[in-house]
Symmetry: C2
Subunit: 186 residues, 2 copies
DNA sequence: CATCAATTGTACCAAACAGTACATAGTGTA
DNA sequence: TACACTATGTACTGTTTGGTACAATTGATG
């Protein structure tokens, strides 16, 4: 049913884009109200803890999304190669082929890394560990699986940095191709 | 000679560490005065343009450092392999073995990427291009050199993100090792 | 249509913000 | 020591910040 009033989940989606665009410190309440078209009344109704609670909700939503679309297949799909292929597909689409930034990665580079320590560490450690387990199932040795999985997760983050700084999304696409090939055929 | 008063170059060094720690938006003037022990008088004397001019000076100093220590050897050293080895040595030491963040990389992920567009793009494009040229001199094909150089520069940035988010500097060290080996022996 | 909780706009607050003005203090040179 | 100039501390500005209070509005339910 169509509603004129918002729900918390709508707010989280909108907030995610605001934080991705402006970073945590750069996201003032006036930026939020302008970009989400929500007033302070609504925002503090849904997030009594203010900006910090908003960012926490966004991080939780990101974790939920990756857990469902990426991490669970890596852990559970009996076809390990298919899970890895799906990971690259989902990552490419999630990051808009290199045009969108990883909020967790951006947080990792700033003070937000301390402020949202568990969420940031949880996101990356789960990713690395689940991918590692998947690579072992795919037949790689334990050492090789750890190396490849760190290389892939780090490589994706670095590719986002590079693609954005050069304003060349194709750098991201090429990186994904290389990583996918390395994980699949070696 | 020992001076009680500061010079602009002292300020730039101190400011670099402040911006690296707090990011651009997170660096308020009160943070700067606290961490650099310089008053507003001095700061606006050296940087009449305020925070933006301070960040610009820091970016310029970073570019200067990399140009001298990393990019020039990549372009000019007749021994290409030695230049690449030096790059990894300097990078490892500059980023304190994964404990220090790349300010330019952090800027690349936020609005600062637009605000300091030329400096951010210049840093990464020079790095990629000079490394690419060096790899061609080392005997790689043009396509292979471009791939390897994007992979290395991106890989370093991603390794910084991952090492910091996991609070495991050794992740950075391992990544450097892998990248170095790939650039040198393949 | 009456009710009531969920949602929202508006006015407001103290603190922190970036930046300015300027008198004072420190420094190299003559 | 006297000078010119650079560097600095301090007090001040208007603006924006994150956050609160609360009355008005909305929408689902009986």
């Amino acid at each position: 049913m169509a509603r004129l009033v918002s729900e918390r989940s709508d707010a989280v989606i909108a907030l995610a884009e605001v934080f991705r665009t402006h970073g945590f410190e750069g996201t003032s309440l006036s930026v939020i109200t302008a970009q989400t078209r929500m007033g302070k009344g609504s925002l503090y109704h849904f997030f009594p803890g203010g900006k910090e609670e908003m960012a926490e909700a966004v991080l939780q939503e990101i974790s939920r999304w990756f857990a469902e679309k990426v991490f669970r297949p890596l852990r559970e799909d009996p076809d390990a190669d298919a899970a890895i292929a799906k990971m690259f597909r989902e990552v490419d689409s999630y990051f808009h082929s290199g045009r969108r930034v990883c909020l967790v990665g951006a947080f990792a580079l700033g003070q937000e890394c301390a402020r949202f320590e568990q969420q940031v560490r949880g996101y990356f450690s789960t990713w690395v560990e689940d991918l590692e387990a998947c690579l072992i199932r795919a037949g790689h040795s334990e050492d090789r699986a750890r190396d490849l999985s760190e290389e892939a997760v780090g490589g994706i983050q670095g590719a986002l940095v590079l693609a954005r700084s050069l304003n060349q999304p194709e750098v991201f696409e090429r990186s994904l191709q290389r990583l996918k090939q390395r994980l699949t055929y070696e």
